[in-house]
Symmetry: C2
Subunit: 219 residues, 2 copies
């Protein structure tokens, strides 16, 4: 059990919500872009449904920020470069790469939400958990990727490398954000209560990433 | 007051739902494509929210079809060509054209839903009205277009022409669909009860289109 160590007016909370809000918008456009590679209508619809869910999360975060007296669009503009940079560094070349990126990205976001949620005051944590409860739309990915990597050892190696690259790029960008935003560092460190330092936070993300690779048959 | 003239197992109902379902998916991808022309984040977010709403409608239609024992993806494949054709014939060249297309398309869909809804048995009309209640996400378009056409007479003429072309193309494609689908013709004709023929149906669409042009300042 962790205890709440952050007050509801911690300045990192607005920053966190703004970061997540832009993350949702960026994910929306990334998913719809990558859906172009889908081999069939079913894949395009799955991606569209995931993308639509991202805008639902965005709506929750926008409302939460509004209640805190913050304009979402102003607040999130600061996070556009780092999220666009993540996506432009990780443009998939195949539909399978797009699927893996979708799944890993969704899972990383969920991990991140979970890490943070426990440290937040209840009224704020509620928003984060509501968004989190909405993720998991990426389950359709699992069977398609598993089938492909069971059929081809070469695909397994290729997608395992791709998956590691996604994690590496996510960590690079996260470190970049944290270097710029003391409020967020303070929030994350308060969140990883009992550990209290960032290295552990990133190690934990890497462990859950390894679980996800196993789920996809990439371990 | 119109009376219900169609039974719940009218074969046109599955066809109508399938047509509308593909229309929602096509609109999703069209909106996200056209959002690329947005001059700012605010425009991209408005478009993304509209697109997300389309997938909500799609979900309602998919469920309704499932309850009628119909697989949405199989059923709607027949309508892909006509809807893709509409969109490929009406690719906007500017952000204002994209906005007008969004608004007119949303309004035409609403008109179409309304025309049909009254003729349907209550359990089926409920689905249509639920989707209809969800439209109107395109209101953000009005002020932006009105401002542009108030500032420039040339824009007004250009966008008025564009708007007429959109209607013309929609009617062309609708006639094409109806020529191929007797079940849908029968449904539409039952729907326009007291008029009973297609020419009136299209005239009515043209009248409401004129109202929409006036709302946008294009009359």
């Amino acid at each position: 059990m962790r205890s709440t160590t952050v007050s509801a007016d911690h300045p990192g909370i607005n920053e966190l919500f703004a970061l997540l809000a832009y993350g949702e918008v960026a994910a929306f456009y990334r998913l719809t872009d990558e859906a172009r590679m889908a081999p069939d209508l079913s894949g395009r619809i799955n991606m569209a449904q995931m993308a639509a869910a991202e805008m639902g999360h965005y709506g929750l975060l926008r409302e939460a920020l509004q209640q805190r007296g913050v304009d979402v669009q102003e607040a999130m503009a600061a996070y556009a470069p780092v999220l666009e940079s993540y996506h432009s560094q990780t443009i998939p070349r195949t539909w399978l790469e797009a699927l893996v990126k979708t799944y890993i990205g969704d899972a990383l976001a969920a991990d991140f939400y979970l890490e943070i949620a426990d440290a937040l005051p209840e009224e704020v944590a509620g928003v984060v958990r509501e968004v989190l409860a909405e993720t998991g739309n990426s389950q359709f990915v699992v069977s398609e990727v598993r089938a492909a990597v069971t059929a081809s050892q070469q695909q397994r190696h290729r997608l395992a490398l791709w998956s590691r690259r996604l994690l590496g790029e996510a960590i690079t960008q996260a470190q970049y954000v944290l270097a710029e935003r003391d409020e967020l560092v303070d929030l994350v460190v308060s969140g990883t209560d009992g550990l209290g330092h960032l290295a552990e936070f990133f190690e934990r993300l890497q462990r859950t990433h390894a679980d996800r690779m196993a789920e996809l048959g990439l371990a």
